[in-house]
Symmetry: C2
Subunit: 498 residues, 2 copies
């Protein structure tokens, strides 16, 4: 049985590597006119790999292996495979394929609608997607998993409405008041940072140093550009990241690069023995995001980081940054602005954007909200939590790609990841002096800690086990809120002093 | 039958696109440490596509279709497929696979041997490859195709020893004396060109203009960097080129880019209806090389080209090129130097490097030369034709990758391509004024002519038919030699005048 399973695995892996690369290429460099041809080839290969994955011999082998008395990583591997095929078996194949076809076209419809800020143009497609998602829920419901929880669990095992409600309640009670209270703080930045222009070739010089600073391994990775930064990997030895430069923002590419490298370092540090099995790669979206956020915010936006690396940046932008101090730069990269766009949000208000999306998704799937009413609800919540009046849907409900590709249940993991990160940082900082590591240009010591306590496991442990294992406690959102309040109290105080 | 054939074609195409992309990625950006994993996946996919290609149902469909009374492009498509499977069927599968395994490792052994200039380290592998090539010849021989001709025909239909002997005889009789006679010409160049340093970012500025100048379509193509420049494409809508920059040579990247774009423009202009069939892409190595050489040498190294575009280059390298005139630059890019390395050879002596390789291959396959004696023979021929004493094998017999990947019979097409180009240029220039097109910044007019007379056909016509169709004459090497003699007589005269 194991032999049959392994033979299928070998072939499926080959397809998946090819499909992964075609996706990476599509988003980074493939010529525009080749899109249609490539999409045809992708469809053929997806069909072939689906056939393999659902081959009766393979399914029987997994069913059989799942009953055996397995141990070690292979036990977990088969558990995950079994969970996957049990889910797939519940979805009628024709519906699944029809949905894939829908999804393959919907993001272009969304992009067009967003460009024209025309929600009505996207609505019929979105409704179709939601109809399928609701059917999907019905197919996959179990005794313990119902409704929207089915979707939430796909992105983060064991996190459902109950858990997220508790999480967001803490944010609502402790973070929202802080954000509102500090909204009046007058932040001031050197005007060159606000109105400057920063040569992209020079930005690249600094950005390419980041791989070295963070120990993102270029023998196992690539840094490239794409419209939206992302990380893409299939095995520990091939994990690639992209970044996006903006001439008007000196720090946009820096933090998107650090963020993506955080994802990349996670995948690079998974036990290489898991390469080619379901155990490789990050365990969940939440844990993944915890690593990118830890690097981006807790390391990259720390005072220690800019005390250490600002001189290098200053040297590259000698003219522009001549009169800007490391302190000023540190405050600048931690600027807070309640604004419309999630992906441009600062660390303090980011999770409020997520809270809004979570509330909306919950309402969509418990029937309290109809898709056609999305813009109204969206705009109401942005008023309520961020005090903002959304001017048009491009800056509102149409801003994110996620729903257009059927990713419902995904958003909450973004906030969860930041919260995980705070809890992980807290315990890591008790064992190694993180600030000192940064100051010593020894971030690899941080990476080693993360590898030992989190990264190496890949999907061997559940997210819940990972957090318990790394922090000796179950997940507790208070770490996150306490961290934010403490950090931003200090930051806002700096403005009073100056 | 057609339906069965088309269904296989659809799947095979999908594999081929994926395999092509994996190869492109491997040579351009894939991280080093991922090589082994990727190679495994490639092997699995190659095995799967081989199985599909040799599926009895597919073979039977092609056999049947080949007997039917087909017309139009589909007739030629089936002829080519039939020829392909008939050849594959003659090679025992186990041997074929063993050879693929050998080939997948041999280029690394060659690269290592080249690095150390250690022919002995490569010899056993090379011998194995030649043994297989000889077996291959035996398997594929027909009544009309024997010995080395079998290999030659693989790269250029209808070109065998008889035809190449005639071709190289003309070179030997008319070109070699000219090269020897003009060896004493004293060429002089501005020292900044010989000893300058040319910022690569600035080089890129000019190089990226080349796509526009030549009408290489970036909606259907990509320009990237790799160690050795190459063109890689599977369909007209996805044809990618690479270039390689050298800080010490201002023109290295320019001409490698123009050369590869010549290949790329050819593939981009094939009838898009052939995308996804065997008819897409260039018809042969010789015709392909004729297009890259035509762009590189006859357009890119022309006086008209530098009269027109030198000011743009001069503007980018304002300091370096301040005192260099367009005339001087034109002479510089046409400098002649009898040297050891084929890929760095100038237009005048290039085909002599090929003649040497052709003589060697011929002798290897008619038994007059043993692999172990290759260095001796190589060095003797470089003395004879180029008057050079080869110092070590890295600069001698180990310089080219081709034999290490079993590409015997390929080299002659490089010289043939240049010769085709001269004949094509001659007739094209009678129909449109090529120099005027260049001066008017209207190279797309040249591209249109090439599309109409050559490119659009893809593999629909044989190389022989292409030449006859485009030039109204069979291939005649005198065009090439006459062109070279005329061009370099003018160029060498310029040194006398100055």
């Amino acid at each position: 049985m194991k032999q049959i399973y392994e033979q299928f695995k070998k072939e499926i892996n080959a397809y998946k590597y090819a499909l992964w690369l075609m996706g990476w290429d599509d988003e980074t460099e493939a010529p525009k006119a080749s899109k249609a041809y490539r999409t045809e080839q992708l469809e053929v290969l997806y069909t072939l790999v689906y056939k393999l994955e659902m081959d009766e011999k393979r399914l029987a082998a997994i069913d059989q292996l799942a009953k055996e008395n397995l141990t070690g990583p292979f036990k977990r591997e088969i558990e995950l495979e079994k969970k996957g095929i049990d889910q797939l078996r519940k979805i009628p194949q024709a519906e699944y394929i029809a949905y894939q076809v829908l999804i393959s076209k919907s993001s272009q419809i969304w992009a067009e609608a967003k460009k024209n800020s025309d929600f009505e143009a996207f609505l019929p497609t979105l409704e179709e997607i939601i109809v399928f998602q609701k059917k999907l829920i019905k197919y996959l419901e179990t005794d313990t998993l119902k409704g929207y929880d089915v979707l939430l669990d796909m992105y983060e095992e064991n996190m459902g409405i109950k858990e997220y409600d508790e999480f967001f309640k803490v944010l609502n009670e402790k973070l929202v008041p802080f954000v509102l209270k500090t909204a009046k703080v007058k932040q001031k930045f050197p005007s060159v940072l606000l109105k400057g222009s920063f040569n992209i070739e020079k930005q690249k010089q600094f950005n390419h140093r980041l791989a070295d600073i963070l120990s993102y391994d270029l023998k196992k990775g690539v840094i490239k550009e794409s419209v939206h930064p992302f990380t893409s990997g299939v095995v520990s030895v091939d994990t690639r990241v992209t970044t996006a430069y903006r001439e008007d923002l000196i720090d946009a590419a820096i933090f998107s690069t650090i963020h993506e490298m955080g994802h990349g370092i996670y995948e690079q540090q998974v036990n290489p023995e898991f390469d080619g099995s379901i155990l490789s790669g990050g365990v969940s979206m939440g844990i993944h995001e915890s690593q990118s956020r830890l690097f981006e915010n807790m390391i990259g936006r720390s005072k220690a980081f800019w005390d250490t690396y600002y001189p290098a940046l200053q040297q590259i932008f000698a003219k522009e940054l001549k009169k800007v101090t490391a302190e000023q730069f540190h405050l600048y990269v931690n600027r807070v602005k309640r604004d419309f766009i999630r992906i441009e949000a600062d660390e303090l208000t980011y999770s409020l954007h997520i809270m809004i999306r979570y509330e909306i998704e919950k309402a969509l799937f418990n029937g309290k909200l109809q898709p056609k009413d999305l813009p109204k609800t969206w705009n109401k919540l942005y008023k309520k939590y961020l005090g903002l009046t959304v001017k048009n849907d491009a800056f509102g409900v149409l801003q994110d790609i996620h729903w257009s590709i059927g990713s419902f249940g995904y958003f909450p993991t973004y906030a969860l990841g930041s919260a995980y990160a705070a809890q992980i940082y807290d315990v890591m900082n008790q064992e190694i002096d993180v600030e000192q590591c940064i100051k010593n240009n020894d971030i690899r010591k941080i990476n080693r800690w993360l590898r030992e306590h989190i990264h190496q496991y890949g999907k061997l442990k559940t997210p819940k086990e990972i957090i318990l294992n790394a922090t000796n406690k179950p997940f507790d959102p208070n770490y996150y809120v306490d961290y934010l309040v403490k950090k931003y109290t200090t930051i806002f105080k700096a403005y009073e002093v100056n």
